[in-house]
């Protein structure tokens, strides 16, 4: 197996004294796409925040062998939070929003250079939003805003991409395009991706590993393998349907 990029050992997280995550053990290898699903309130967002080091935890978290607070300084993370805490009315153009993703790559004075500008335009092209570059971000539809934020995450060229429910608000076409984009990224770069899917709906087949999270993490393996219905029952507490869908293109 290749290099371990993210490793959690016996991680425990409390919020307001309540245990939100416990016994979490997780290993994500270089260039993997790791999907995490689970019910609302299961701790998925908390897990991503733990990985990027913006939440307190007990246990061990290692990013490229270092604690998150060290790794963060090197700009290894590109994190796309779940919709909510940001100011969607903020006056910024699409171009300016994506440029924010370059902040770690710019020099001391944070003045965009040619490489930054090219990267921004390239990322906008990837999410099919190039023609909107001079439009105000606040005037876009929810789905378009989400694509711009994905472009910002891509523009940062970080080694680890963490996506919290990234396809929420996208229409089916944009969702499929987004999955193609992830697949492309995996093939063409050595990026490592952790993706949280808001439900058990769709986990594309090119994902390398799936885990379900409900306070504890239940590792499930590659999505093509047989589903363990007992496991899902444990996570969701009820009988549910199919977890893993084959991707389109008839490749399964």
């Amino acid at each position: 197996m290749s290099e371990v990029v993210i490793e959690l050992k016996n991680v425990l997280v409390r919020r307001d004294g309540k245990i939100v995550l416990k016994n979490v053990n997780l290993k994500v290898y270089k260039n993997q796409i790791y999907a995490i699903c689970g019910p609302n309130g299961g701790g998925k967002t908390t897990l991503l925040r733990t990985i990027v080091g913006i939440t307190n935890y007990e246990g061990e978290v290692k990013i490229f062998g270092e604690p998150p607070r060290e790794a963060i300084k090197k700009g290894v993370f590109s994190y796309l939070p779940q919709r909510s805490p940001m100011d969607y009315t903020f006056p910024a153009t699409v171009y300016e929003v994506v440029m924010m993703g370059r902040i770690k790559k710019m020099g001391l004075l944070k003045i965009p250079r040619k490489a930054d500008k090219e990267e921004v335009l390239e990322s906008l092209k990837l999410v099919n939003m190039l023609e909107f570059k001079h439009k105000p971000f606040s005037a876009l539809s929810g789905g378009q805003q989400q694509r711009v934020l994905i472009a910002r995450a891509l523009a940062s060229k970080a080694k680890i991409l963490l996506l919290d429910e990234p396809i929420t608000g996208l229409d089916i076409q944009a969702q499929l395009a987004f999955y193609d984009l992830l697949k492309d990224l995996k093939e063409k770069t050595d990026i490592t991706i952790v993706i949280v899917t808001h439900d058990i709906g769709v986990v594309p087949t090119f994902v390398d590993a799936v885990a379900c999270l409900n306070k504890e993490l239940f590792y499930h393996g590659a999505p093509s393998s047989e589903l363990n219905m007992e496991l899902l029952k444990k996570v969701y507490g009820t009988d549910i349907g199919v977890l893993v869908h084959g991707h389109h293109h008839g490749d399964t």
Partner: protein, 262 residues
């Protein structure tokens, strides 16, 4: 324009230009982060510092600045702790500080001190020393924004992502409020404790009507602020009105004229 040959007017112009540039930079962040009440709180608190400076016979700018920085840190602290609502904390603190100021001044009143000029500003009191002081502060503020502009923008827009890039939210919040405390002292000379929020709120608010790009908005804020400050200074001379009030009225009229553009 014989007026330009008066030293006091030249100083007022230079002071006005420095203040316009500095306050416009803050204005954008104060408006988008909804910190205008914090600005009001800081400037009013500085009044207590002025009174204390009079009492102790120390430099009033220094004592006012110390008070302003204390409240600035306090505001940043309460906004992090959430034990007390930030607005409530500011409201309590600033009226307390003003009350103390008034109490001190009524007890130890000296005829040489013009309270009126601290409340509403007075350009004729700007000295060479003040201008040097303003120049230094302007230099520090420009350096601050040059170094941290990207971080400040990201923090205002998307704090969660800012953190994931290693931007220290807490430190930045403290630092921003402290810088705000420092520049407020500049504004007090010009428009006084009471009118200062106009300098913090008007520039960006007027500029918002003209663009959705933050870079352009900030550029325009500086432009509009220079326009109403300089125009206000000339008007105050020709109409024989107090400078601070005239600048604020001019700025508000500019806001009114552009309001319907949005």
């Amino acid at each position: 324009m014989e007026i330009l040959s008066y030293t006091f007017f030249q100083r007022a112009l230079i002071g006005g230009i420095l203040i316009s540039v500095v306050f416009s930079l803050f204005s954008f962040f104060v408006v988008v982060r909804k910190l205008s009440f914090a600005g009001v709180g800081i400037s009013h608190t500085a009044f207590g510092g002025i009174a204390l400076g009079i009492l102790l016979g120390i430099n009033l700018s220094i004592s006012a600045m110390i008070f302003a920085i204390i409240i600035a840190v306090f505001i940043a602290y309460t906004s992090q702790k959430r034990r007390l609502h930030e607005d409530a904390a500011i409201g309590i603190f600033f009226s307390f500080s003003m009350a103390i100021g008034i109490a001190i001044i009524s007890k130890y009143h000296r005829t040489t001190v013009d309270i009126w000029s601290f409340l509403f500003g007075n350009i004729t009191t700007i000295t060479r020393g003040d201008l040097t002081f303003f120049g230094i502060i302007t230099g520090i503020v420009l350096l601050y924004f040059f170094l941290f502009f990207g971080d400040l923008i990201l923090l205002a827009f998307d704090p969660e992502v800012a953190q994931s890039y290693g931007v220290n939210v807490k430190l930045h919040n403290y630092f921003f409020m402290i810088m705000l405390g420092v520049v407020v002292i500049m504004g007090i000379k010009m428009v006084g404790v009471i009118l200062i929020s106009a300098f913090l709120v008007l520039p960006a608010t007027i500029a918002f009507a003209f663009s959705k790009s933050f870079v352009k908005i900030i550029e325009l804020s500086i432009l509009f602020s220079l326009v109403f400050t300089i125009a206000g200074l000339f008007l105050s001379y020709y109409l024989d009105m107090p400078s601070g009030a005239t600048i604020v009225i001019t700025g508000t009229i500019l806001f009114g004229l552009t309001y319907f553009k949005r």
